[in-house]
Amino acid sequence: MNTLLWLPLLPLFGSLVPLLTARYHRNVCTLFTAMLPFIALLLVAEMTPDVLNGENQYAAAQWIPLLNLNIAFRLDGLSLLFSILILGIGLLVILYARYYLSSQDSIGKFYSFLMLFMFSMLGVVLSDNLLQMWMFWELTSISSFLLISFWGHKSEARKGARMALTITGAGGLSLLAGIIILGNVVDSYSLQVILDSGDFIRAHSAYPVILVLFLLGAFTKSAQFPFHFWLPHAMAAPTPVSAYLHSATMVKAGIFLMARMHPVLADTDLWFLIVSLTGLTTLLLGAYIALFKHDLKGLLAYSTISHLGLITLLLGLDTRLSTVAALFHIINHATFKASLFMAAGIIDHETGSRDMRQLNGLWKYMPHTATLAMVAASSMAGVPLLNGFLSKEMFFTETLHQEALGSLSWMIPVLATVGAVFAVAYSTRFIHDVFFNGEPINLPKTPHEAPRYMRVPVEVLVALCLLVGIFPGFIVGDLLYAASLAAINGPVPEYSLAIWHGFNYPLLMSFVATAGGLVIYYYRQPLFAFQANFSEPDAKQIFDDIVQNIIQRATTLFNFLENGSLQRYNYLLIALAVIMMAAPLMDLSSTLGTRPELPYNLVDITAAFLLVIGALTTVICHRNRMLALISLSIVGFIVSLAFARFSAPDLALTQLSVEVVTIVLLMLSLFFLPQRAQKQSNPRRVIRDLSISAVIGGLIGTICYALLTRPLNSISDFFVVNSKTGGGGTNVVNVILVDFRGFDTLGEITVLGIAALGIYKLIARMRLFMPSGDYKGRPWSNDAHPMMLAVLSQSLLPIALLVSAFIFLRGHNMPGGGFIAGLITSVAIIQQYIAHGVDWMKHRVKIDYQILIGSGIAIAALTGVGSWFFGKPFLTSWFDYFYWPIVGKFELASAMIFDLGVYLTVIGATMLILANLGKLTTSERPIQKEEE
């Protein structure tokens, strides 16, 4: 297995380890948890030389090739840089959290979430497929939600987690949209393909849309203005989470995305404008607000926002060197900010407070921690010999080389210096206000130094700050070069990581920033008083208001569309259907086609007239239900005549027999339903329904006419040619049913059977009010069943059965078949029920209709299975001709057995429905039977 695949897999398995080891001592759990990421870090170290030599590592496995979806990982310079940050700082955070979390916190759960996050973050930076990267991107949102809300008993933790998830999740959706559009433009989701088609994408008309969608994803994740507000609220998380997610990793995912897509999306004016202006705004806003935060973590959060803005600005400036500077600052910010968060956590842990108005003069109590924090904060301020200084100098240099804003370009370096002034000011505050400036005030705990090993992670990071600051080229030179190579995807310009560049403008800017920052900090009291005039906008409140507003609007829309009235839904659906149908019809130039029409004749016209009268009577008299039913039966009768007229004898027979069964069924139901309905609808609704019905009727009629007058181009010739030779029957319709499309028919009789069983269950527990008379209150007649009908139907029964047998047998060659024969048999039996009543029938007919349905479907299915024994596919038919004395030559076909199955199912289903419904009208009600 490829080594690269293990990189994300190890933390994934690692998320189980803490859960398994949590029952042992904390140290054991910590040790085992750290094991897998440590191995992963070793693997990275093993692959590093290759990557630094320009040999990117790949690992891929096919997943859904049709969708261009592969599981693909790559390790190039950029992902190498991020992998080291993720794994390295992750390990330090694991050690730190061991001491930070109290004994009440479930450390196993915490580590598990942390490893899950590590897994998703590694997935983001290692993915070689954009869709896959997006999946990991969303996983980081989810795992960070779990981590922020780790102290779920605190309301602010829950709210902060929800806010972070909403904002980053929404950005993730926008990113997905961007990825899909991009994937369609390039016709691939593979990162390499996309990186290589930068010019094509930038020239494409969809470029602005893609860019904005991608940037929305990046800005929300990296807390850029105006989406920055979630980050301070995410500070409700335990401090190890803040040190990991909110300084080094998750908030850098947006930056990573911009760097990753840099070869594709950057280098245009649009990119420059959006990215650099957003970055600049965020830089200034974050730096300014950070100064006024009394909460240690709040200060750090806004400072993070500000530094993220700085990196974004660098990526936006879009000279090749600015990208190098951005990557360099990513490393530096990760080291000093993670150590500062850890130091803030130590202070919080050992004093019980994070409020800088209470925290004063801690130098005396925790000199060791104080020294570390002061070095890190100086790096944040950009003091020479520390890594923050180097990248800040590079940043200043790049702002000076900007001409994109024309004559206003001078504003960028000036505003950058203003931002740096505030950075120095808040860094000074972090140092002076916390460690000096008098004595602590009302602290919950007496401050003391943190446990030895809790300080180790901070020491490591601060040492890195110093080392990178003093020997930049030696420590990170190669790594930075490789990362720049990947982010630029082209030649990397010359740059120097030296500490001393001589007296020049950037140095002057640094000097101004330091001096200005110290002055501002010195005069902070008037500034604080001035700032107190403005009420701070409560981001949580605004966010909640917006969310509530959206919910309210959605509810209004929802209530408008779904008010509980089925009539209304039905109307809306039909209206939609009208719109969908009408639009394509507009394109039809002429309704009349070229096919010659049949001549009119008086009989047809009369039948059509009757049909229209029947349909209209049904509508007009639909409240007089008996009358409506009789008119409806006229319509059904004419429909079956129409089938007979237009050369479809099978249809005519089917329709005729179904018609009988349907009308009997509806009459039976009318016994239980009100026979007359009062006037319901108001005139307005009647007009509305009439108009939409007329429109849809007109549309359907038009389509039907257009269809009928166009020449026929059918696939049916195949059936006509092969019916006799392949299926052994001359009635092509029947051969299609039982042979060519036998599988369909099998499905259809199954549906029929299921419907009948469903009805049976519905009837079984029905408790109906048994009407004793009609709607006028006249009692039902108690006469016995008329003798004439009884005698007639009894003598008709054998004939009817004979006819149905005849129809069944001839079905393969002449109109008929299982469906029709089954219906005729059912009608004959129903007639007995009508003539004699349920009681009489009960003693004479002892057929279990459910078994009939089951055996029918079984016979049909077994016929199909039978062909397997002859090595043929399911439902292959067989037929042959035989000679029998007296009878003569006759045909036997397996299709007839199949048709027998159809026949039995149809009888079973029809009778199950009608006989059970009929039983309801007597004292023999199934509910009583079930309750016995």
């Binding site: 009235s565 009539q567 109307y571 029409e597 009119y600 047809d604 059509a608 229209v612 349909a615 049904t618 509508v619 409240r623 409506a628 409806l632 059904g636 129409a642 237009f646 050369s647 004898p649 089917t654 069924l665 509806l666 139901s669 009318l670 339903l673 009100p674 319901q680 329904d689 019905s693 849809i696 009727g697 009629g701 039907c704 006419y705 269809l707 009928l708 007058t709 026929l712 059918s714 059936f719 006509v720 001359t730 009635n731 092509v732 319709v733 299609i736 049913l737 499309r741 369909d744 028919t745 259809e748 549906v751 419907a755 469903g758 009805i759 009837i763 029905m766 009010f769 469906f819 429905i913």
Partner: protein
């Protein structure tokens, strides 16, 4: 002839749709039955109209299109099963809910109870 046929299909559709938009279950059932007539006729029309040309091999010179016929034949039977199911559902709804309105609530009763307070325009 085709014109009359198309008119009839349109007519049945219009009547069927109007009935399915009514508020009482039985009207809806009638409407569905009517709609299934029109749908079957429409599907059948996709094979075009022809007279005296049933698809019985050897019985006539030209043959009608057998495929729509086969499809419509099963559609008729399934249509019956569906109508039956809806009817029984309507009866069951009336048995369980005490009225035969499609929404399961009788607007007349609601209106009567609300009439004390204000003029209800329920429908």
């Amino acid at each position: 002839m085709e014109g009359i046929y198309a008119f009839c299909v349109g007519m049945l559709t219009a009547c069927g749709i109007f009935l399915t938009l009514r508020g009482r279950t039985f009207s809806v059932v009638l409407g569905l039955t009517m709609l299934s007539y029109s749908v079957n006729l429409f599907l059948f029309a996709s094979g075009r109209l022809s007279i005296d040309s049933a698809v019985i091999l050897g019985e006539s010179e030209v043959y009608a299109d057998p495929l729509p016929q086969a499809l419509v034949l099963t559609a008729i039977v399934i249509g019956f099963a569906m109508t039956a199911f809806v009817v029984i559902l309507a009866m069951r709804a009336r048995a369980d809910l005490g009225n035969d309105h499609v929404d399961g609530k009788d607007p007349n009763e609601i209106a009567a109870s609300m009439a004390l307070n204000k003029k209800g325009e329920m429908n």
